[in-house]
Symmetry: C3
Subunit: 344 residues, 3 copies
Amino acid sequence: MTSPDSDQRFHSNPELLVPIEGDFAGKDILSMSQFSRRSLERLFDVSGQIEGYLETDSVPRLLDGAHAALIFAEPSTRTRGSFGSAVLHLGGYEPLTDPYLKLFPNIEDPEFDFRILDYKAVLGDGGLIVMRHPQEGAVRKAAEVLRDVAPKVVVPIINAGDGIGEHPTQAMLDMYTMKKRFGRLDGLRGVIAGDLKNGRTLHSLIRGLSCYKGNTVYLLSPQELRLREEERSVFASLPISLVEIEDREQIPEDANFWYWTRVQKERFKNPEEYEAIKDGMVLTGDLLKMQNNRNMIIMHPGPVIHEVERSTIDLDPRWIYFEQAANGLPVRMALLTLVLGKIK
Amino acid sequence: MTSPDSDQRFHSNPELLVPIEGDFAGKDILSMSQFSRRSLERLFDVSGQIEGYLETDSVPRLLDGAHAALIFAEPSTRTRGSFGSAVLHLGGYEPLTDPYLKLFPNIEDPEFDFRILDYKAVLGDGGLIVMRHPQEGAVRKAAEVLRDVAPKVVVPIINAGDGIGEHPTQAMLDMYTMKKRFGRLDGLRGVIAGDLKNGRTLHSLIRGLSCYKGNTVYLLSPQELRLREEERSVFASLPISLVEIEDREQIPEDANFWYWTRVQKERFKNPEEYEAIKDGMVLTGDLLKMQNNRNMIIMHPGPVIHEVERSTIDLDPRWIYFEQAANGLPVRMALLTLVLGKIK
Amino acid sequence: MTSPDSDQRFHSNPELLVPIEGDFAGKDILSMSQFSRRSLERLFDVSGQIEGYLETDSVPRLLDGAHAALIFAEPSTRTRGSFGSAVLHLGGYEPLTDPYLKLFPNIEDPEFDFRILDYKAVLGDGGLIVMRHPQEGAVRKAAEVLRDVAPKVVVPIINAGDGIGEHPTQAMLDMYTMKKRFGRLDGLRGVIAGDLKNGRTLHSLIRGLSCYKGNTVYLLSPQELRLREEERSVFASLPISLVEIEDREQIPEDANFWYWTRVQKERFKNPEEYEAIKDGMVLTGDLLKMQNNRNMIIMHPGPVIHEVERSTIDLDPRWIYFEQAANGLPVRMALLTLVLGKIK
């Protein structure tokens, strides 16, 4: 895997994914593959500006007059809460989710389209949808429906996680966290550990890091949880160096970041297999002693279950879980403001 | 059915329904039969004013200090979202619906009254309730409870749809849409098609149009879905010309509006009957070619399921579904402001 | 039971309950036993100030920039609505509860901790949690988790009712109501009637009244619903005079307040027992005629079910149920502002 100049490059399927260059306004945010270094830098600049407003309790009502609907067809605390706060913080309005309408249809169900159009009708031109759905590709399907019917009424949609597909706003806040810590997003060395097969956050993060130059990521997982062939072949063409490792001893001593993820118990057919694997994937204090780089950081997309030895790690200053999560607010506020065209 | 002068006339049951003249403040909004030409004109004037604010992102916080509770005991996306946005847009506050309290009691259940009084207690004087309930008459029952107990604490209630009864705010936005398009609400010729038996929106719309002069409405439905006898006898006394037709060939060539509604599959005992009827009630491109009036509009209260040939109709400029839905916001904002007495 | 000087006294378990003196900022609000006369007076002063803002529709956005999460793991209309309004009124933001996440875990479940930390992550430093939970002690457990992990990220928690434990904010609004009526909270004589065994509101109220001097409370209940031994022994050490009575004839003629509560039907094993008891515990017009004190007030924490003879009591000016409930808003606004340190 090579690392050519990645500036101004897009990984988009031209039929479905519109590249975000300088201008986010009115565009659907479906995948990190729509982004370039330039568009990410724009996003992080606005995020920094908004973080300044937050710190001084002086957030302008940039979204006054805008409506957003949060359609979360899967449980969510952090992403949902963060988007909800972002909308309200900027002076926008969230038409409330109806508790009687809990089950959002599958994408194969004809009602999927009707329900999406119902939201379009209530939001009207200038509205925005944030959607999470358990099926990969569901948000893209919704985007097509929104564009095809009444195309003059523009209601962009943001992917807040589609099954094992992508979770682009998580990758954005992860990268914003790195940028604040290291002052750059080029030439980083990192470790992504855990369930690489089912983890949508890292699928987005690898795409995002490939927009910058000279990044190397070690992918640590047991054999059973390696990247899917599908993702592997896409990533092979990206300008990022990926090194798959299976043994914790192979973690480099000078990584800038560790990105730990949860082993998803519910995917295992044989519980004993899970038990054997899980013990090998716990982030322990002993493991961390191997690192010589005092400036490294340990990230986690949450929720933290059993894969971190909390008694030790919670006290380690390199464990920046809460700082990372807190970055979700300014980054999502920035994204909403840009997509709704409320900032030049 | 005759069409005498309808100005200043009320269709109220004087014991239960208080007429809205110039002054909406503190009154319950239960039925379109409370309205006169004068009160509807007042509502549309304020709606237009608020639409201007919305277009320039300069909505004054007219409801600052007011609380509204949305009690939706049936699913709703558009009406619920629109009322929720209206409250927040004007600076009001919505005490959130408790997801643990999903099933609102039947009106026969003694707990119905206690729960309504709970809402009265939390809202306090100057609060407002918006209620949808599957039973006809439920909102009127709630209004009685609210007035009878602690009458000095004034909490008006707005009907957002009571079973197959009425849906007055839908009729308000429908008429506002017509007024914007035609510059008048007198002397219109329209078609209301579909399920006239179970469609609460058209029960309200016919009442509303009868407040103006010289309106004629053709009611197109299969035999099985004609108006109920109960509604028919009420409407017979209203100053509006109603012409019941069963054949699409009888649609006049010069209608100003078509108002299409969904055939409610779930009411049919025999599925084959539904299949036969439903095909005859689809709004097709071919059917629309019969119309000579280029300025006519096609409306639909939503949601659109199978009764519109979307591939053709979605592209027709006379199909103003999204424009119509968008009018829900300024009209509901106007109604809230007037009922809470926040505008003179 | 004696009544020594109660000023500056705390009933705290020093290991768990931090006393609130002048400074509420950043402190968990778990029990009325954290409060002193001084801290309650501070709370009521700010409540009065905020009530003035509410009356003139001029509430400053004191919480701008703050986030609150309402975690209600039990049904609630008045408390939840009141806290929700309070947050929004002050310019705060409530990340919405996820309808997919309805069942909050038991405190024994390891997921209880993870979920609390999820909320901490989304709120970030300066956020606040309001929690109701069916288990006694659940809010205290949550407070420990919030303090132990990432202690520099300060997210205080407020108890909105923990099983049959406490409900401190209800006691605060009850006492604020008394103070407004009588101009003082010393030297009051009152009756608390109903289900003293299971009523968490009165457990908090007795603690609160013991912060003032010379108060006497008659506790009226059937034998089966007397105070639990546990509470009885705690209250015995408090500077408040408690007189247990079983017969309505023993109610003093000169009480300042009656505080009536619901007999909790669901706790009875034998329905006939409930029927027998319940009739003896109804607040009737006849009973009220016994009172000679025209300035007395009748309070009730709600909801009112069958234990009040509404046909008579609703018309009695001493029945101040709606006034009492309305005081929930300014008192909860004051508490939020103080705990978030937004007022000096």
